[in-house]
Amino acid sequence: MSTDKDNDWVRLISADGYSFLVRRHVACRSGTLKNMLSMESSFSEAVSNTCTMKDERGAVVERLCEYLQFKAIYDNGSLKKEELPDFTERLAPEVALELLMAADYYEC
């Protein structure tokens, strides 16, 4: 049951209208998204399985999703720190600051 729930898809919509589908358990790697989608509190986002990220551009949301996916794959203690692939390569300087803000906001 819980694995089904973890495996279903949630929609993240960026401010400029891009829509990203990610697995729920991936999205929940972000504390803020997790709270947003929490069934217990059942805010409108949780009811519709859709999170509108109205302050972030599509490019930023895309990186965010990539990072959450990266975290979901590697952040489980199976690899040592030096064995982890380098994520910083993927960070374009153009979006770095915006990403920094988003990371703080979304708690990831």
Partner: protein, 784 residues
């Protein structure tokens, strides 16, 4: 920036989009607070989490965290006050109603209301926590205030758990518990809901939960009062088993209560209260309750009640000791009763002869007049009673007292006490073994026999004067062996092995010597018969048992007699044979221990009589006499030179018992020196073989007992001296106390030596210059 350098392009970093001057803390808070109220009103589904989270985020980001935090707390407080006045205040129990059902229902409603408010509060609080996550993460840390969740709980304590609400809640919970104790059904989940709430809340000043702070003490106080009264009430209205049953029920009830709707932390103190009020003060009352206390339960074999008593008693520290004491007392009392029933017979010690005569008939069943046989029966009964008592308590111990080791040892102590109170117990035990080995074991399997003997051994184990037992056992064993009365040799050896295990090699050494003698004698007799086959045999066929005098107990009381010619011939023939095989030995004849088969012709028919050797000697005097001639007692005595006691005994069994081979003049039951006897030629009996007079085991009379006691005392003196010398030879020098202790320890396996006697022995040894007193007057030297 390794990545950037590799690409070789100067990266252009775009600044993040700034919030314009359009941000206004007041506006944001106004919107957010409106939404918080919405959340509290269960309308979260209509709200966007993202939006509210952003409000909170922005407020914290633009340094309005404090406004946000305080405002939120205020909203929570307002909401709680509203809930209290809407949900809880209206359901306060209206005054004191006398109907327990009504009261309990009112209480239940209140508890449910509290739970409802709590659930409501927690649900909105958790949403707020989600929304204000950023505030918790950033603001609370720097401002050093509790996170919003904890703040919410504290607000609950402050606004709900306060007088008068709390008082009402606690008294409602107590009412529920009391209602259940009174035997009514309550809604346990309502109480549990409330208890759970109190368990999750903490006192703002220290770390203890509200439950621990307020509810638990109240529950305990209430319980103490209740159980104090309950204990006294039950004691007045119930008998002991019922009382125990009720108490046990109370314990189970409270256990389930604690388990189902109180905190497990309450279990221990609550239990202690129950133990202190229901059990501890009533221990001795329960045990000694007239007509239903411990004694009665034991009498009636109430295993369940007793095991209940045990399990309740071991809960309290004073329980086991008082149970031990009571058990000891009851066992000793029962034991004394058994002893007392044995003592009645002591008063009527009677002539042995009559008893002998009775045994002569080969019947175990005694005539009512035959008190001697009764004494034997009493001895057997005593052992059987002790065994039964032991069985009873063993069963009790394993079935009701969970084989408690401490109880076992005090039970053993009690058995030891009363068994040793009866100074005849070693004799009785030996008699019982004798009886079993002689007839009791006939037709029983080896295993059954073994259990019977094992049981007797358990009684034997309690006896401190093992040497007294040894003396009796030796006597009984000798008689069994000589008269061939033992049922089975295996059983005898089995018994011997058991005694060896109990008391060691030394104890059984002589007994084994007796067995050995029997075997050697059998071999000797075979050789003798072979020898006779080659030479001329004497007229009388004899069978001889050669006994090593130190092994056998009877060599001392050597009653002799003048053998008639034919017996002298026979005995001389054996003597010659024996001394030719073993030179340098001395043979002494013990006619008092032998018996003989003799064929006698009466008027009607011939009978084979089995008589003692003495009786044979007497009978032979009449062999050549004409019918109707008399021999006076004195004449018989002069002719046979049998000592008076033996003579009287044998004459009595020949002339006064069931088979009257001789006629006594005048007739009567007792033999007097003035009587005279004649051969009873008219004697007739249905049986061809008749057994007359056997030396049967029996309880000693007072004189014999005194003699036995003297002999034992003498033996003890020797043993004590030997022991002292043995120790001193080893140690050379020893203080008085050490010596006494060591001697006591070494002799304990045989008897309980009296220090005074040891001291006398030491003095004796000093006189004989085995030891010398050291100048310090407290220790001794061994003189080689």
């Amino acid at each position: 920036m390794a990545a950037a350098a590799r690409r070789g392009i100067k990266p252009k970093i775009k600044p993040p989009r700034k919030l314009g001057p359009e941000f206004s803390a007041e506006d944001t808070w106004a919107k957010l607070s409106r939404n918080i109220v919405e959340i509290q009103n269960h309308n979260a589904a209509n709200l966007s989490y993202e939006e509210n989270h952003r409000f909170a985020y922005n407020m914290v980001l633009y340094k309005h965290g404090e406004t946000l935090y305080k405002g939120t707390c205020q909203l929570i407080a307002n909401h709680l006050d509203k809930l209290a006045s809407e949900e809880i205040i209206p359901v306060f129990p209206a005054g004191s109603s006398d109907d327990p059902v009504q009261r309990s229902q009112a209480g239940e409603t209140l508890l449910k209301a509290l739970r409802k408010v709590w659930d409501d509060h927690i649900s909105s609080l958790s949403k707020l926590r989600d929304v204000l996550a950023y505030m918790d993460r950033v603001y609370t840390k720097t401002a050093n205030v509790p996170e919003i969740w904890d703040a919410g709980l504290q607000l609950f304590v402050k606004h709900i758990i306060k007088p008068p609400i709390e008082d009402h809640v606690i008294s409602a919970a107590l009412t529920q518990i009391q209602t259940e104790r009174d035997g009514y059904v309550i809604n346990r989940s309502a109480v549990k809901g409330c208890v759970d709430v109190l368990l999750q809340l903490h006192d703002p000043h220290d770390d203890s939960t509200i439950y621990k702070r307020d509810l638990e003490p109240a529950v305990l106080r209430e319980s103490e009062m209740f159980y104090k009264l309950e204990g006294e009430r039950l004691l007045e209205t119930c008998d002991a088993p019922e009382f125990l049953r009720r108490i046990e029920e109370r314990f189970t009830q409270e256990d389930s209560r604690v388990h189902h709707f109180l905190s497990s932390s309450t279990a221990a103190p609550l239990r202690r209260i129950m133990e202190e009020n229901l059990i501890s003060p009533h221990l001795s009352t329960i045990i000694s309750m007239p007509n239903s206390g411990l004694d009665v339960m034991i009498d009636l074999d109430k295993f369940d009640d007793l095991s209940r008593l045990y399990s309740l008693f071991i809960m309290v520290p004073a329980g086991l000791p008082s149970l031990k004491k009571a058990l000891r007392e009851t066992i000793v009392r029962r034991g004394k009763d058994i002893n007392a029933s044995g003592d009645i017979a002591d008063a009527e010690d009677m002539p042995e002869e009559e008893f002998e005569a009775n045994r002569a008939k080969g019947k175990a069943k005694a005539r009512p007049t035959n008190t001697g046989s009764q004494t034997l029966q009493l001895a057997l009964k005593w052992v059987q009673d002790v065994l039964d008592l032991k069985d009873k308590f063993d069963q009790l111990w394993s079935r009701s007292f969970r084989s408690d080791r401490e109880l076992e040892s005090s039970m053993n102590e009690a058995f030891e006490t009363f068994i040793n109170l009866n100074e005849k117990s070693p004799e009785f035990i030996s008699l019982s073994i004798d009886d079993n080995l002689k007839r009791g074991l006939k037709g029983k399997s080896d295993a059954e026999m073994d259990t019977i003997l094992d049981k007797t051994i358990t009684v034997f184990r309690y006896v401190t004067d093992k040497d007294v037992f040894e003396r009796y056992y030796k006597g009984h064993l000798a008689k069994r062996l000589l008269l061939g009365r033992s049922v089975s040799d295996d059983a005898e050896r089995g018994m011997l092995a058991k005694l060896k295990v109990e008391c060691g090699y030394q104890f059984t050494q002589k007994l084994e010597g007796m067995f050995h003698d029997m075997k050697i004698s059998a071999d000797t007799m075979q050789a003798y018969r072979a020898h006779l086959a080659k030479t001329t045999a004497p007229d009388v066929e004899i069978s001889v048992t050669v006994m090593t005098s130190t092994f056998w107990p009877m060599s001392h009381s050597a009653a002799t007699c003048t053998f008639p010619e034919m017996l002298i011939k026979a005995s001389k023939s054996f003597e010659q044979f024996y001394l030719s095989r073993h030179s340098g030995r001395r043979l002494t004849w013990q006619p008092s221990l032998g018996n003989a088969d003799v064929r006698v012709s009466f008027n009607s028919r011939k009978h084979d009589l089995n008589v003692s050797t003495f009786a044979l000697v007497i009978l032979l005097l009449f062999e050549d006499m004409p019918d109707g001639e008399f021999l006076t007692y004195e004449e018989i005595k002069a002719a046979t030179s049998i000592p008076d006691g033996e003579l009287q005994r044998n004459l009595q069994s020949l002339a006064c018992a069931k088979y009257k081979v001789l006629k006594k003049h005048p007739p009567g039951r007792d033999v007097n020196p003035t009587d005279s006897f004649s051969f009873n030629a008219d004697f007739s009996a249905p049986l061809q073989k008749i057994k007359i007079s056997t030396i049967a085991s029996r309880v000693e009379n007072n004189d014999e007992r005194k003699e036995t006691k003297d002999r034992i005392d003498e033996e003890r003196r020797h043993q004590t001296e030997a022991c002292i010398v043995r120790i001193m030879k080893d140690r050379k020098h020893m203080t008085h106390n050490d010596l006494i202790n060591e001697v006591t320890r070494q002799l304990a396996s045989r008897f309980q030596p009296d220090p005074l006697n040891i001291k006398k022995r030491i003095e004796g040894l000093i006189d004989r210059e085995y030891l010398e007193r050291c100048p310090d007057r407290k220790s001794y030297n061994y003189l080689a």
